[in-house]
Symmetry: C2
Subunit: 385 residues, 2 copies
């Protein structure tokens, strides 16, 4: 299989985009990625989306994007793995290029959520969990995460406030990202005053939804020697329902997914310069850090308290705001993560730049860890010109 | 890229399955395919589905199927391209095996439709069309096809009754298929008495929805010398809206898709022994035959009238009932077509067997021709044992 490179990236700021439709968002992000890559014709388009059938009355997004992007005729399809949709889309785009079947592939994640009624949004999002064995009991997606967080606090003796460093870091970093939904740092006092969304998850432990789209243009690495390379790409599953796991506060799928990606890249957590993880909730950030080998079991929160997740720390996370501050347009998030990691490795992250970043990891999670997609990106070795 | 073979097939009879849930349907079909293949561990699972988020309150089907099939941990994702979802799923499964990334892949299409309210089903299905530029005018998916059929009749001078051979052939063939929803031949008189669904589409010009699932197990052909081979696999798009096409009664996407598949297989329409086409509506059957080179422009209906589509004809279609009689569980249909084509090439089609069938083509269509996925299958040359 051929190595794959990221030749172009495109992002729409995460907002309530009252003036942009679902298709506008997708097309703008794709056009930006194509312009960035200097390519105007692609061989295939993979679209990540979770909720458009219900919230926008629109399915069939592969054909829609191909058509309105002026790429009619190309192969195109939509992929969905709940909030892991965009990461899964990247994975398929990589297979298409790596296999030799295609030479230029657009992967785009798009979500248009803010026009729908709140009850509809909640219903669409709970589709990520098990309808027959979880949702039937009345849980929402937030309350499932609250249950996990509560168990984690009980098991390891943390208090709710111990999770503050995740939110503070994300909002401080998001303030430096023009594409972020929230662009104001928050104080510890503000964090502590956050009202409960589903106890113990407070306002600042939960990421906000939003409208957005992010796209990458993928090509064979041999055709783009100076583009950021994909050196690890892996997807893994865990049980859909949390109650079916031997250990409800351990993300087995994240471990599997990360280990596969590490093996492909021939490296381990110690080699990663920054980690765009899936901080949909503070607890998920902690569990991801543990599952991927950055902290011992139960020590993810302590790692954050020690400052290791800061831009200057050992393993910076949410460097451009993460899901918490950049925002979480669910089926687009995985590609925002990859676009941001690419910016960091290109040295284009502006005020949010992580100094000397050469290797970045991203991890996109669907449901409560039932689908986990991990990618490792590398800056190519500088040629001598 | 490696050649891919179909080592196992599994199908659930299309019915109103009040006693089987969405997950039951998918798992049963997968288990049947794995049993048929003699394989109990797979490397990846691709699930095709169109409406579960809305009709079953369940998304995230990749992880769901992996989990309940006892394959937790494997890579899994759902794909959607309206009624072309299952064909698109097959296409990705082939890429995964052909690339060398995986050695055993399950592709499964599943749809559980009959528990929802009729208005919900109609709303879910219209998501295949353009929400902003078609559906907003009040059209349903049936009425869009009625407009195309009316234009075709006007342009080529056909009457509504001229389309009867498609329904008669499908129902006669479906009577021989235990997995078909409708298992009774119909008479010309019954066809003519069919009430209008959306004029000129009558009851017998429109395929029925249903609950169902179909699965294939794919492996590298080199590991299964006696299994049916995939010698052509191609997907193409057309404009999402019919009004954007230069010619509304020509399926440009089907032409593109078929031509790519023919080129891969190194053959043309004259080499195809049977064609499982997307007869969601009689008009679509006629247009597919024309777009794929089996009839001249405007002559698809005449081809049917001449008997060429019968089991004994030049190009048998809907040999096990097609969408019309086997039923059309939308996101599963493309894999029913492929399972049926495999049965024919294996010589396992029973009373519906097409004598001497060695090469079969399938074509799965999403929307009004906006996504078209074509596959060509071949019986391997007999070894001398």
């Amino acid at each position: 299989m051929r190595q794959v490179a990221i030749l172009g990236i495109g992002q729409i700021p995460v907002r309530e985009h009252w003036h942009l439709s679902l298709r506008d968002l997708a097309i703008h992000a794709c056009q930006a990625a194509m312009l960035d890559a200097g390519i105007n014709k692609v061989d295939g388009i993979y679209v990540g989306n979770m909720t458009s059938g219900r919230l926008n009355q629109q399915r069939h997004l592969g054909a829609l994007v191909a058509d309105f992007l002026g790429q009619k005729g190309v192969e195109a399809v939509k992929m969905e793995a709940a909030c892991g949709s965009a990461g899964s889309t990247m994975r398929q785009g990589i297979l298409a290029v790596a296999s030799g079947e295609m030479n230029a592939v657009l992967v785009v994640g798009v979500e248009k959520m803010t026009e729908a009624a709140g009850s509809e949004i909640t219903a669409a999002l709970t589709g990520a969990a098990d309808a027959d064995f979880e949702v039937i009991h009345g849980v929402s997606f937030v309350s499932l995460n609250a249950l996990v967080m509560r168990r984690y606090m009980h098991e390891y003796g943390y208090s709710q406030d111990d999770f503050a460093p995740f939110a503070l870091n994300a909002h401080r970093n998001g303030a430096k990202n023009p594409n972020a939904l929230f662009r104001r740092p928050i104080s510890l006092k503000e964090y502590e005053a956050g009202r409960a969304v589903a106890d113990p998850v407070t306002l600042f432990d939960a990421s906000p939804i939003g409208d957005g789209a992010a796209a990458l243009l993928l090509v064979p690495a041999e055709r783009a020697p100076e583009a950021i390379r994909v050196i690890g790409s892996a997807s893994a599953t865990d049980t859909l329902g949390i109650h079916d796991r031997e250990d409800p506060i351990w993300l087995e799928g994240a471990t599997l997914s990360a280990q596969r990606a590490y093996a492909q890249a021939g490296m381990g957590p110690e080699d990663i310069d920054l980690f765009e993880l899936h901080d949909a909730f503070s607890i998920m950030a902690a569990l991801s850090l543990e599952a991927c080998g950055f902290a011992e079991r139960g020590a993810g929160v302590r790692l954050a308290q020690d400052g290791a997740i800061l831009p200057t720390g050992k393993i910076p996370i949410a460097t451009l705001g993460g899901l918490k501050a950049r925002g979480h347009p669910v089926g687009a998030t995985g590609l925002y993560q990859l676009a941001e990691a690419t910016m960091q490795l290109r040295g284009e992250a502006g005020e949010a730049q992580i100094e000397g970043a050469r290797i970045a990891m991203t991890q996109n999670i669907g449901g409560s860890g039932a689908t986990v997609v991990t990618h490792i990106l590398q800056q190519p070795k500088k040629t001598g010109r």
